[in-house]
Amino acid sequence: MVAAHQACAPEKDLQCELYQHMQACRVMEQRAYDLFMENLIKGTSHLALGQEAIAAGFGAAMRDDDYTFCTYRGHNHTLVRGVSMTAILGELMGRECGLLSGKGGSMHLMDVAKGVMGSYAIIGAHLPMAAGAAWSAQYRNSGQVAVCFFGDGTTNIGAFHEALNFAAIWDLPVIFVCENNLYMEYTPIGDVTAVENPAADRASAYGLERVVIDGNDADVVYAVANKAIERARAGEGPSLIEAQTYRHGGHSRADPGKYRPEEEVAAWKRRDPIKIYRARMLENGVDESDIIAIEEAQLVRVDKAAEAAKNSGPPPLEIANTDVWADGSSTWRN
């Protein structure tokens, strides 16, 4: 396990960037939670409250033209690439201003212009797709890398295995990031996995290095992300990173998360990545006023975004029948 907080503190700007990413994610998802409660978000939604350091660390380390592939629990990974918060909340609410005009929903955020190549809701499927984007970057010699986020439960499905082997044999510039939050939906990962570290203990099966990190420490994530991305860009192939973390809430909207021991939840809440990072910034001599400025700015941002999304109407019904095909139509006959 890569040790927690490295000796040398990163630049102040970078610290502020990481903190800002985490704050943005936190307030956006908290707002999303409130919007469910008001029944303004229908269907389901999977929050990553408590897991923000991973999205933030990678977001800060990635180049603008790199690719992100994420899951239904992908609001944060999407946001940190510079995607509009209004468009994200609008999509969760099924509004016209939504990132996908309401056609995708909470589980399918995607913004190709920002390198966010989609959020996928069938466990495992996006791992080989990320490998494919990396293969494309390798063939085009573009220097891009693909970063693919997924959960601990995903390590037991076949597509995980195929993607890892495939990426390894072709030295693809892809970084597989397993966010181990200890649970599938409601089942503890240890109950259904033959090894202790569901991702890291499989790395050697693909000739890869074993990497387990503290996923609640943004600096650690950032450092490890940078290293893996550099390797990938240099043509040295894929990485598999297991980042240990915890979701503060349930699996999805419907789930109060009661299957988790209270002390476990409490212990992890004490290790809240934002709390940790805030304390560290102060320790490192960052002015508290600068920190507060970030926090306030993100609150203003989320207020505006939520307001704009609320003011947006439902999408025009015609769009339900568009864009099945590249010609924009859904016509299957002449």
């Binding site: 309401g102 589980m107 399918h108 599938m184 419907a254 439902p314 029948n321």
Partner: protein, 325 residues
């Protein structure tokens, strides 16, 4: 007779069979300790214990391979595939192994198993958690296919599916979980392969399945009250075996047929029924056969969009009126 929800009828049907037969086991993701993501399996772990009701990893191929291997060797297992869209990750075990092996082996073994799954739209879950795929299942030789429209049928058909010596794909329509109806007390068994006439009528036959049945019934009321058209509603209940007798009897009487499917248009089960009727009952038809389906698109997530594309009572009425012209 007690009122049960469609959701509660799932566990009721499974429990009825688990009580009488020790060879019935049940596995799936989050079905034991958590009682299922749709809360359809609550109480089963407590009653039958962790050897018979067991949580699995996210490994759909392993889950279905496990029930296949167990069924071949004397057990009667049940598996849950959480959302029917996920059949795509384990389709090989279903179509190439479970469905074909009895035939290939010249009848040496059978696959008395049930794979139950939440099917269909209406919950604003988006394209990867909403599709109706009962037509995929119908297309595969060697599978039986069940899709009840109400809690009583669900319980009785679930029990019959578990007792059936062949592999059954059992579709629970997600949008019906909250619906309730009277369910007879005591042991309930409804044979596979028998459609139900959900409403008698004389002018037009509407064949529907699962969540489309209540919609067709609503449409029938409007047709009667506003247009004086008497629609007969046939609830298929099982796609395989297919109760062509009940369908044909109704169409012979009415001379007109409309099918209502939740699955997307192309190669849906409605096409199969349409083709059967135009092959075998052509001379009894008084007009075209119409199909109401979800358009041939993935399902959108936003509530307004999803409501616009799933077959609605209004769209059913519209189509029947076309026939009446």
């Amino acid at each position: 007779m007690a009122q049960l929800s469609y959701r509660e009828a799932v566990a009721a049907g499974i429990a009825q069979e688990m009580r009488r037969d020790e060879s019935v086991l049940f596995i799936g993701e989050d079905i034991a300790a958590a009682g299922g993501v749709f809360k359809t399996t609550e109480g089963l772990l407590d009653e039958f214990g962790p050897l018979r009701v067991r949580d699995t990893p996210i490994s759909e191929q392993a889950i279905l391979g496990a029930v296949a291997g167990a069924a071949m060797t004397g057990l009667r297992p049940i598996a849950e595939i959480m959302f029917s869209d996920f059949f795509a990750v384990c389709w090989d075990i279903v179509v190439n192994q479970i469905a074909k092996t009895r035939f290939m082996s010249d009848g040496q073994c059978s696959f008395p198993l049930v794979i139950k799954s939440g099917n269909g739209g209406g919950a604003r879950f988006g394209a990867q958690h909403s599709q109706s795929i009962e037509n995929w299942a119908m297309a595969v030789p060697g599978l039986k296919v069940v899709a009840p429209s109400n809690a009583a049928d669900l319980k009785g058909l679930m029990a019959a599916s578990i007792r059936d010596p062949d592999p059954v794909l059992f579709f629970e329509q997600k949008s019906l979980y909250g619906t309730k109806c009277d369910v007879p007390d005591g042991e309930l068994l409804i044979p596979l392969g028998e459609a139900a006439v959900a409403r008698e009528g004389t002018d037009v036959t509407i064949v529907a399945l699962a969540a489309m049945v209540p919609r067709a019934l609503k449409a029938a009321e409007t047709l009667q009250s506003e247009h004086g058209i008497s629609a007969e509603i046939v609830d298929l209940r099982t796609l395989v075996p297919l109760d062509t007798k009940t369908i044909f009897k109704s169409v012979s009487k009415t001379g007109r047929l409309v099918t209502v499917e939740e699955n997307p248009r192309l190669c849906g089960w409605g096409a199969e029924i349409s083709s059967l009727v135009s092959e075998e009952l052509f001379w009894d038809l008084d007009g075209p056969i119409l199909r109401v389906t979800t358009p041939h698109i993935p399902l959108p997530s936003a509530d307004a969009l999803e409501d616009a594309v799933l077959p609605s009572p209004a769209r059913i009425v519209e189509n029947v009126l076309k026939l009446a012209d």
